[in-house]
Subunit: 331 residues, 2 copies
DNA sequence: ATGAAAGCGCTAACAC
DNA sequence: GTGTTAGCGCTTTCAT
């Protein structure tokens, strides 16, 4: 397979076109100060030979790869592919390409990915760290050699962050549930290590100060945990009729769990998710969920990478948006 | 942000360690024929200076980047993240890293991604092409300069393919439905341009020769199309009581559509999906679906990339597996 | 406008 | 064993 014909170099083009390699380079890059005649000759030869410049040589010479790295904690979870898509759109305009890495829910893998990207000389690194504390080391290390920005999740370093305001996120859910008449609210959280998990839980506690301790339960970002939590709450706190979930997957589980117990959603209990993933549309009833402004997140993060001077150690908080679904129809 | 301290080079290490750059290189690569004493000095200095070798310089010199490119048609669709994960696992062992690109359901984007990866000198390219015909040009072009393998989807080129046998895939669904007593089968297909769409439909036609023309409908790989198809089939072919869907997303839509029409799943109609995505677990009832052997697919593809000589223009067909869910409980 | 030549950071002969 | 040196493919002064 693969002919693998001797990869052409800029010299081959120069020779064939009867010009110097400098001229070829000029035409292929800035194209400034070249006689149209010469330019024609070069372009014609490039075309004829099907020459493709080597990104490697170019990068080494320019000391820039025109690419940025993106490290996500778990590509298989519904949310991150959406984030990745948003970055692709954002980078498209900037003429940068995206080097993607998946940490596979594991700090050791994450560290390797970060180091690999750094060694590959990406011009900047965007990361959504696995773990609020254990990811710090690698993130801080990377920051020593290039611009780094954290998105969605973060770890506690001086590295700038772009997040969707967790307090506003939960406030949207809580206010909406109350407006729809669900008077007694509970919160089903995810795993402890992700910053979003912690922040969303804390926000709920703050926004619903009257909650009983048993009204806040945390476990994992999975359907199974959602089902379990539904059972837990139904047994121990039957008075609860509005459930705020830390993400869509949990919400799906909660709805399934409630249905298994014969409790109607939204008739008897209202449920909200977070992140507006594809799950929101797939379930029955569809999910009321809080969306993150992903395109904005990607463009702000890209800006911070490209203009690190503006970044400082700052945190940019973005405004979430309520997406109505059937899971909060009215009690 | 980002200290951006002058990136260290191998010279700095050599100087500080009081050895030649060749020795440093030896220690950092093959580590062969170096006095333990020298090695210690180098490693110590590397550690102290926090030196990270430049992948760029290394690649340029070796004419190999030890990375392979993976181009998927749509990272936001539930299936491809699973495929990506499988490749990460497969490549882990081979000491290769993964450069990921998303074609965004668009041949033009796909072409750009492919070219970019080629220029980046990846050692091989794995691609699941958007379009059975319109992707040919770029795929063939890439093949001129490096080993290329197609996975899951393919376009009609001489480039080797690793696919899950579509005939066996549909056979598993059809046989299972029949065993469960669903006697009159229909097929809901996806969009025409993806090879999987075409092959799965053709397989159904072959395996269920007695089907009426109206029993095979195609539209898109979406929930909406699934709902629509359910309505179509229920109206025009009420005799149908088993529905084979070209992927999980369609199946979810079909189930929703049937329920809206008051037809019980699995009581009245049985439904199967394809690909065993996360959707299969999320729906109610859960989905009976046909899984692709992703780890096998990834490791076979990786082998073909690393040993292109063995590849020829061959097609490797892998064996799918039935995953039981609630959507075919028994009529 | 164009060419010659000096790097970019690394590896791999080839001497010693 | 270790150092010297010539590239890898490109960009970019600096002459001309």
């Amino acid at each position: 397979m693969s002919a693998d014909a001797t990869p052409l170099t800029i010299r081959d083009v120069a020779r064939q076109a009867g010009v110097s390699i400098a001229s070829v380079s000029r035409v292929l890059s800035g194209s400034r100060g070249v006689r149209p005649e010469t330019e024609r000759a070069v372009l014609e030869t490039v075309e004829r030979l099907r020459y493709r410049p080597s990104h490697l040589g170019r990068s080494l010479s320019l000391r820039s790869t025109s690419s940025i790295g993106l490290v996500v904690p778990d590509i298989a979870s519904a949310f991150f592919p959406l984030l990745i898509e948003a970055f692709e759109r954002a980078l498209d305009g900037a003429g940068l390409s995206l080097l993607l890495a998946d940490a596979r829910r594991d700090v050791a893998h994450e560290t390797r990915s970060i180091m690999d990207l750094v060694e590959r000389q990406v011009d900047g690194l965007v990361i959504s760290p696995c773990d609020a504390r254990r990811s710090r080391r690698a993130v801080a290390e990377a920051r020593r050699s290039l611009p780094v920005v954290q998105v969605d999740r973060y770890c506690t370093t001086g590295v700038p962050r772009v997040v969707t305001d967790p307090l506003e996120t939960i406030r949207l859910a809580v206010d909406h549930l109350r407006e729809r008449g669900y008077g007694t609210l509970a919160f089903v959280g995810g795993a402890g290590q992700a910053s979003t998990a912690v922040d969303r839980e804390r926000s709920f506690r703050r926004l619903v100060p009257e909650h009983r301790p048993a009204h806040v339960v945390t476990g994992a970002f999975t359907i199974e945990w959602g089902r379990e939590a539904a059972a837990l709450l139904s047994t121990r706190c039957p008075e609860v009729n509005g459930i705020v979930c830390a993400n869509d997957l949990i919400a799906v589980g909660v709805i399934q769990g409630l249905r298994d117990l014969g409790r109607a959603v939204p008739g008897e209990v209202g449920v909200t998710g977070c992140d507006d993933t594809l799950y929101a549309a797939v379930t029955t009833p569809s999910l009321t969920t809080i969306a993150q402004p992903l395109d904005r997140m990607a463009s702000v993060a890209t800006d911070l990478i490209l203009h690190p001077a503006d970044a400082g150690g700052k945190t940019v908080k973005l405004v979430p948006e309520l997406r109505l679904g059937g899971s909060t129809g009215s009690p």
